[in-house]
Assembly symmetry: C2
């Protein structure tokens, strides 16, 4: 098998896989069995060449004039995303944000069950949020070991975020989803996704600013001329 | 000015500008006046060529051996992101999520002041959350017109998200930050950012899956051979 190659998938491609999956699931619900890269691109608001390149990482090339087989592509993406497994999640922080996350329905029950919710505030420990009993943050190591938790969610104020991330990691978590408004530092081998409100607002104001008036891009000259 | 060109900035570049800004503000707080693309790349976890390309869109090229002037780069990025203006924001949904957003500190007071919080639930209308009085969703048009609001935040359950987005847009909002777990459809000219919990979890499980065991990438053959 000399041709067998192991290619590193680009981070930007990984971040688009969930979107492709959502589009394909929509299509399959509408009874669509085959789809072109152009149609996927249109539904995702990106260009078709990028779709084809992204999907080629999965080994999917589609067939000229027919496109991609929706059900097989769903299978491939779900396998890549690990959605065929269960990934138990713990949430640290039982305040408004933790409660909102639990109530949001964003954790698919099947793939990302919330197996624990802990807080440092003794007053909250023992209370029920939905069907979850709030545990103490000191319970993290036992919880993470017994439930084989890989993903921890940081839903605490910014000043507590790093401490919480450190405790999650030392308890054995290897992926962190950080909702605190401050980035956390983690050792190599730990994956972090930061949900950053300020960043989202800045991206929107960028677009607003460039909608209001057409701002000419700064003069771009070759380096040799600009001096 | 034959060389004056107006270039379209790539969406991926736009989405990295907030990160560059955060890094540069950190550097300036530490008293650093000049920085190389390599240093920015290291702090941002991306490669230096990408940093240089991104910053070239701003007309910033740095100087060989010296790098970029931190304060000027901050000025340029803030200008592009529109952070030199004020962008008043309204939040729809006074539940746990809306309350968490208000309490999060993620809305910088200066650039993105929250000027209104509304809900459809009469029981919530009139109550105070922080210093904000909860208004009724019917107040949106007056609120948005009087406070010149361009950005609306959807912090409601998934089933209400499209209705809320429609009402925000018809009231004059042109950018939407959607925290509901369901994407919303908007007409051309309206910008949407979706904060998608399921998507973040899927990206983490992708990485977890590929950490656990080294999964060989599917065999990739040139198209002409794969048939």
């Amino acid at each position: 098998m000399a041709n067998r190659s192991r290619r590193k998938i680009a981070e930007a491609t990984i971040s688009r896989l969930p979107m492709y999956l959502r589009i394909l699931l929509e299509l399959t619900e509408s009874g669509v069995a085959g789809v072109s890269s152009e149609k996927i691109a249109e539904m995702g608001g990106i260009n078709a060449a990028k779709v084809r390149k992204d999907l080629s990482y999965l080994g999917s090339y589609g067939t000229r004039g027919v496109g991609y087989e929706v059900s097989f592509l769903i299978f491939q993406i779900q396998r890549e995303l690990g959605i065929d497994h269960e990934w138990p999640v713990v949430i640290v922080g039982a305040g408004n944000l933790g409660q909102a996350l639990i109530g949001s329905g964003g954790f698919g029950r099947r793939s990302y069950p919330i197996v624990g919710l802990v807080d440092i505030d003794e007053a909250k420990v023992g209370s029920l949020i939905g069907s979850l009993r709030v545990g103490h943050i000191d319970e993290l190591p036992a919880l993470i070991a017994s439930r084989k938790v890989a993903i921890g969610v940081v839903a605490v104020p910014g000043e507590a975020a790093q401490m919480v991330a450190d405790r999650l990691i030392s308890a054995g978590v290897t992926s962190i989803l950080n909702f605190a408004p401050i980035p956390v530092s983690v050792p190599a081998g730990i994956t972090v996704r930061q949900v950053d409100l300020a960043c989202e607002l800045q991206i929107l104001s960028f677009h607003e600013q460039h909608k209001k008036k057409v701002v000419p891009w700064p003069q771009v000259l070759p380096k040799s001329v600009s001096a």
